[in-house]
Subunit: 165 residues, 2 copies
DNA sequence: TCTGATCGTCAGTGGTACTGACAATCAGCT
DNA sequence: AGCTGATTGTCAGTACCACTGACGATCAGA
């Protein structure tokens, strides 16, 4: 296959499946579609589920903390929590120790929703991963974790300074 | 609140890094940031590079074919190609065999840009993957390919009917 | 020739995420 | 105490990406 002119004609049409960005984007899209479809009957989507998952942790959590954990902007959290609050899934109340903050909590109904959402979410991930064997799935999770944790050093464990920009 | 109730209180705060969607999204974001930064000096971004990659394949290609290969809507291709054409990187000309179509080609300058972009893109992917060893990187690519190709059966090889919806 | 489908295009919509600003509040300093 | 700067939640504005729906031009088949 070395009959090329310069650098630019790979003879066969380039396969986008060689490009990591394409693969990550489309894998993400497919998983999001499966997840959203599975959670739709509960009135939430995959992004909501992420927030619920953080809030179910037990500890009182401010909006900013949820946002940082999920890796989204704090301004984006507002609308997300607005919607969840409107559905009666979460509740905001002022933090008595720091009245700038809102403590966000799951409501009773929110806990029920989360419990069911958990099952549905696991099912969606399972269907997504059905094409590969469990070892590959575990390896995928490990690899991705290594890749993103290198990018965000310390977001989940500690109250890190959240390297912005 | 039963202690260690059934499903809803994992005691420790839930780690978003357990959720595949989070990992895929943030891995994608980080890679896109690296890629875009690497390609910015050439006046293109990662999405442009994908199109260039298809166009460098040699075969005359219509806009729709490029769009399908990249997995984007044909209406999205218009603006993308508009920008690339404005920069002198690609050129559109009517297909004499089917005058509804535009044949999209790399210009001379487009080939040069692509050649350099290829190097930059490979460097960006390399930096992205620097956190893991090469075996894991190859395995990641295989796994992702299996996952997305299950979702789009036949998009890259054949002129499939593009299973929409 | 007439009908239905295809391709490129554009307008409009929805969703997401950002910046910049603001009021309220806190913390450190004098 | 008072002042100053930073933080939190909020909102408005912007940008981007992808989609739907429509349209003209064109092709293919009856």
């Amino acid at each position: 296959m070395h009959r090329m002119a310069t650098v630019s004609t790979p003879a066969a049409a380039a396969d986008p499946h060689d490009v990591l960005g394409y693969l990550l984007k489309h894998a993400n899209q497919r998983l999001a579609a499966l997840t959203d479809a599975a959670l739709a009957p509960l009135g939430i989507d995959g992004k909501d589920f992420g927030a619920l998952r953080v809030l179910a942790g037990g500890e009182p959590t401010s909006q900013l903390q949820v946002a940082q954990r999920l890796g989204v902007d704090r301004t984006t959290m507002v609308a997300l929590l607005d919607a969840l609050e409107r559905k009666g899934i979460v509740a905001r109340r002022p933090d008595p120790a720091d009245r700038r903050r809102n403590i966000v909590e799951l409501t009773e109904q929110g806990h029920e929703t989360f419990a069911r959402a958990r099952v549905e979410h696991a099912g969606a991930e399972g269907r997504f991963l059905a094409a590969i064997d469990p070892d590959a799935a575990a390896q995928l999770r490990r690899t991705l974790r290594a890749l993103v944790e290198r990018a965000e050093p310390g977001t989940p464990p500690g109250p890190g300074p959240a390297p912005r920009g």
